[in-house]
């Protein structure tokens, strides 16, 4: 298992290949890639700045991964979350889960993302033509996390 918080972009293919190579018996790989949109709440997004709480972020992500591994029979989980200034169509976050069968991989991947959205200390600030604004948390994210 590993979690990484980094400014640099990531190569989805390479990350999946490395995770697969580290385990025998993998029959399923589920992945999620979050991407910066060019529109949010009807405003054009020029840049998106991702801030986090160093020290707590990695710990929070590791705790989410540990919980996923307790709930589902998976081989491995990788989480990469970028911070800093991003542009529309940039990759923000990657979750990869390997398991023997697809059910566990799909469920664990969705769980990690739902928990990450509500428990990992990241915040987004958008730069729009009208200036900067902090992104507000969505109630739908709390509802998604509460399903589990």
């Amino acid at each position: 298992m590993s979690v990484r918080v980094q400014q640099e972009d990531f190569d989805v293919g390479r990350e999946i290949a490395q995770l697969r190579a580290s385990t025998r018996g993998v029959g399923a790989v589920a992945s999620f890639v979050g991407v910066v949109r060019d529109l949010n709440d009807a405003a054009q997004i020029r840049t998106l700045t991702l801030e986090h709480y160093p020290g707590m972020t990695e710990k929070a992500l590791e705790r989410i991964v540990v919980e996923a591994r307790q709930r589902w029979d998976v081989y491995d989980i990788l989480v990469i979350h970028r911070v800093g200034v991003l542009k529309p169509s940039d990759q923000i976050v990657l979750v990869v889960v390997t398991s023997a069968h697809r059910g566990e991989a799909f469920a664990a991947c969705e769980f990690v993302m739902d928990y990450l959205k509500t428990r990992a200390p990241f915040w987004k600030k958008e730069m729009t033509p009208d200036g900067e604004r902090w992104v507000e948390a969505r109630a739908s994210d709390d509802e998604a996390a509460a399903r589990w």
Binding site: G34, L50, E51, H52, Y53, G55, M56, K59, A60, H81, I92, V93, M113, L116, K117, T118, R119, A120, P121, F122, W123, K124, K125, W134, V135, E136, A137
Partner: protein
């Protein structure tokens, strides 16, 4: 003495990222800390008013209203998270 850390919108609102403060003896948990800070006046009163969405972490763990606070703790105040 505790270390207070402010993140994202709250750092902008308070105009500072962190401070070290001596807490009065009766400020022993998260609720008491938020009430004490809110008594500083604006912008604290507005940002920490009851009903405002403020999250707190004590020593890098998400805290609840009754989570105890002790000397030497790092206490972070932040808005609901928006990563992913």
């Amino acid at each position: 003495m505790v270390r207070l850390v402010y993140l994202a919108r709250l750092r902008d609102a308070f105009g500072t990222a962190a401070e070290s403060v001596d807490l009065p003896g009766n400020v022993g948990n998260v609720t008491a800390l938020l009430e004490w800070l809110a008594r500083r006046g604006e912008p604290w009163t507005h940002e920490l008013a009851p009903g405002r969405a403020v999250r707190v972490a004590v020593n890098h763990d998400i805290a609840g209203p009754g989570t105890p606070i002790r000397s030497g703790d790092e206490i972070a105040l932040f808005p609901p998270v928006t990563g992913g």
